[in-house]
Structures are given as structure tokens and as C-alpha cells.
């Protein structure tokens, strides 16, 4: 009977499957593995210090202090996220609190719940009504960003070692 049949391992429960399309071959993966399209996530109870670099999407819901370099990927700081870091990514979305300098090759968005103190450089910037921001905003298209990096000795985006709290004070020096 229906009620006695156990769900197969590794498949979502019946209720979860009701409104989802049928699983394809690409969905067959080990238990616990993330689908290729879902972002990596730092949970809200986690606190991490250090350097973070990579090439996949990331959602930060916890606390992070250090540097983040996701040049080809996107970063989302969730509503619970608290970050003290200089960040470089293709796309950055801030829904939580960030202190540090942010550089996005494409789009940078501060959502209405976002709180950002630092300097922003991006090709496009979206600031929702209600967001808090203190710092500078510089719009640079990708073609503008590359020569400026080359002028700085061929370095890729350099992450300033200055304490994040001092960012507004030092931004013009």
C-alpha cells in the first residue's frame, strides 16, 4: 500500500517532490552532495578568520574576517552575515553587515537590510532604499578596471592589510 512504501534513499520526500520536475540523470549524486548549481554556504553559526579564495558561488550567513577573492564568481552576504573583509568577486550582494572595501567586476548590490562601511568599485551598483552605506562609490567598467590594475604594477586586485575599522579614515590616502 502507499502508506507503507519507504521512500528511496537519496531522493527527496514525497511532499518535496510534488511540485518539482522529475529528476534527470544529472541529479543522481551521492547523499549529502550539493548540486552543481547551488552555492557553497557558510552557515550562520560559523565564524571563520582567514583568506578565502576560489571559483564558485558563495553565500555567507555567518561571521567572516579576513579577505575574500572570488574573481569569477558571486558572493552573497546573507541577512545574518557579518563580514570584516576586503572582497573581490564578479558579483556581490550584501544583505547583512560588511566592513571593508568591495570590488565587483560586474554588479554590486546593497539590499535594504544591508549595512556597508567601505569603498565600493563596480561596473554597476544597486543600492536599495533603506540600505546603510558609508564610504565611496566608484563606477568602473571592466575595461577601465584592467588598465588601472596594470598601472598598479600588474598586480591583480590587492587586498589592503589595513584594519577594516580604519577604512573610512584611510580611504583617500
Amino acid at each position: 500500500m502507499w502508506g507503507t512504501k519507504k521512500p528511496e534513499e537519496g531522493t527527496p520526500s514525497h511532499s518535496a517532490r510534488e511540485n518539482t520536475p522529475l529528476a534527470g540523470a544529472h541529479d543522481l549524486r551521492p547523499l549529502g552532495a550539493r548540486p552543481a548549481s547551488s552555492p557553497a554556504r557558510l552557515g550562520k553559526t560559523l565564524s571563520v578568520k582567514g583568506e578565502l579564495a576560489g571559483n564558485e558561488e558563495l553565500v555567507l550567513d555567518g561571521e567572516f574576517e579576513g579577505t575574500i577573492d572570488l574573481a569569477e564568481s558571486s558572493l552573497t552576504v546573507g541577512p545574518q552575515g557579518r563580514v570584516q573583509a576586503d572582497i573581490r568577486a564578479r558579483e556581490i550582494v550584501i544583505e547583512g553587515s560588511v566592513r571593508g572595501n568591495l570590488r565587483a567586476a560586474d554588479r554590486l548590490q546593497i539590499s535594504k537590510s544591508g549595512n556597508v562601511v567601505g569603498d565600493l568599485v563596480a561596473a554597476r551598483i544597486v543600492i536599495e532604499d533603506g540600505a546603510y552605506f558609508k564610504g565611496s562609490i566608484d563606477i568602473q567598467k571592466p575595461e577601465e578596471q584592467k588598465p588601472r590594475r596594470a598601472e598598479a604594477g600588474g598586480e591583480s586586485f590587492r587586498i589592503a592589510p589595513a584594519p577594516v575599522a580604519a577604512a573610512p579614515k584611510d580611504k583617500l590616502q
Partner: protein, 209 residues
């Protein structure tokens, strides 16, 4: 009966969906109109906005080639004034923590109506500090109430000559209305000043260093 209620509900919902959003009050700004060209005389000018950060304002000035600095002194003033148990005077605490930029950094400063909300001890020090932050030829645009009445308002740039007025949520109330003579004395260090009087309760003051 049930059908009638459903029909009425549907009609009301339909009307609500069709109803236009309440229009944001606007005002023409001659001060802004003359402020913007003054920025264009510099390459990649730096603009300091002392009000709330708005997408529209940022988009307007960045599209004009500006680097926009935002520091909401209204919010900072509200927070600083409400801090209790502080021994240092408000003026000292305010200028020790806000506007920490080197002299001559900015081509333009949007002060909005900040001066109308300042406590007495901050008025002259802040006017002198803002003068110092401007580069020679740089401009400051301020708004000043004619009468000490009206609620706290935020200003958003719609285009080069129009401001939108939005109700502010901070617990700030007007501290004073400056006579013209007091304003001229307060900003005497600037090279030139122009006043634009609107039909509403606001004067615009455009100052050039």
C-alpha cells in the same frame, strides 16, 4: 451573498492593484542646476553626500563621472546626540568620528538641510570643516528653512534640476531658522555665494570656495 462579496472583493483588489503609487513630492532646484556644472570642471570629481544614500542620487552623479562619497551625518547626528554617559562635548565627539578626510578632497558637497538640525556648538566648526574639505573652486549646496517648522525630510536627486522630498524617519527636529545675514557670516570664508528662494519653506545656498 457569497458571490456578491467575492465580486466586491475582486473589484476592490483590482482597483488597489491599478491605483498608482503615491507621488513623491518634488521641487525644482536652481541650486542643484548650478551646482552640477561646477563639478564638471574637474576630471573624475569627488562628491560628498551628507544625506541618506539613494540609488537615484548615486546613479545621477556616477553617470556624470563622479566618485561619490556617502556619509549620512543626519543619522550620525541622531546617534551621537542620543548617546548618554559621554564626558566629551558633542562637538568634539562629532568631528572626531565623522568626516575624516584630508583637506581639499572634494569638488562638491551636498549638505542638504543638515545645518538646520545641528546643535549650536556644531554649527561653526562644521562650516569651517566642510570649507576645508573642498578643493579650491569646489562647491557646497545647502538647504535652509525659512521658518522653524516642518518635519524631517530626506532629499533625493531626480535629475540635474529636480529634487524628490521623502519623509525621514529619524527623530530630528529643526533647531533654528537662520537669518540671511547669519548665513553669510557663517560661510564668509567661501569665495562666492548665491541664494535661491523657493516657493516652499526652503532657501538654497550655493557656495563656491
Amino acid at each position: 451573498m457569497g458571490n456578491l462579496l467575492r465580486s466586491l472583493t475582486t473589484r476592490l483588489q483590482g482597483r488597489a492593484a491599478e491605483a498608482p503609487l503615491p507621488a513623491v513630492p518634488r521641487r525644482a532646484s536652481l541650486g542643484l542646476q548650478q551646482f552640477v556644472p561646477l563639478l564638471g570642471e574637474a576630471e573624475h570629481p569627488a562628491l560628498l553626500d551628507l544625506g541618506c544614500v539613494w540609488q537615484a542620487t548615486v546613479a545621477f552623479f556616477t553617470s556624470a563621472g563622479c566618485k561619490v562619497y556617502a556619509e549620512d551625518l543626519f543619522k550620525f547626528l541622531s546617534q551621537t546626540a542620543s548617546e548618554s554617559g559621554q564626558e566629551a562635548p558633542l562637538g568634539e565627539r562629532f568631528l572626531a568620528a565623522a568626516l575624516r578626510y584630508p583637506e581639499g578632497t572634494f569638488r562638491g558637497i551636498l549638505a542638504w538641510d543638515l545645518f538646520d538640525y545641528l546643535p549650536d556648538e556644531l554649527v561653526e566648526p562644521l562650516a569651517a570643516h566642510l570649507h576645508g574639505l573642498l578643493e579650491p573652486g569646489g562647491a557646497l549646496l545647502g538647504l535652509f528653512h525659512n521658518r522653524q517648522e516642518g518635519s524631517f525630510t530626506r532629499y533625493r536627486v531626480l535629475d540635474g534640476q529636480t529634487l524628490e522630498l521623502l519623509p525621514g524617519s529619524l527623530p530630528l527636529s529643526l533647531a533654528r531658522a537662520y537669518p540671511n545675514r547669519t548665513l553669510l557670516k557663517l560661510f564668509a570664508a567661501f569665495r562666492s555665494s548665491r541664494t535661491f528662494i523657493g516657493r516652499d519653506n526652503l532657501r538654497e545656498l550655493l557656495l563656491v570656495k
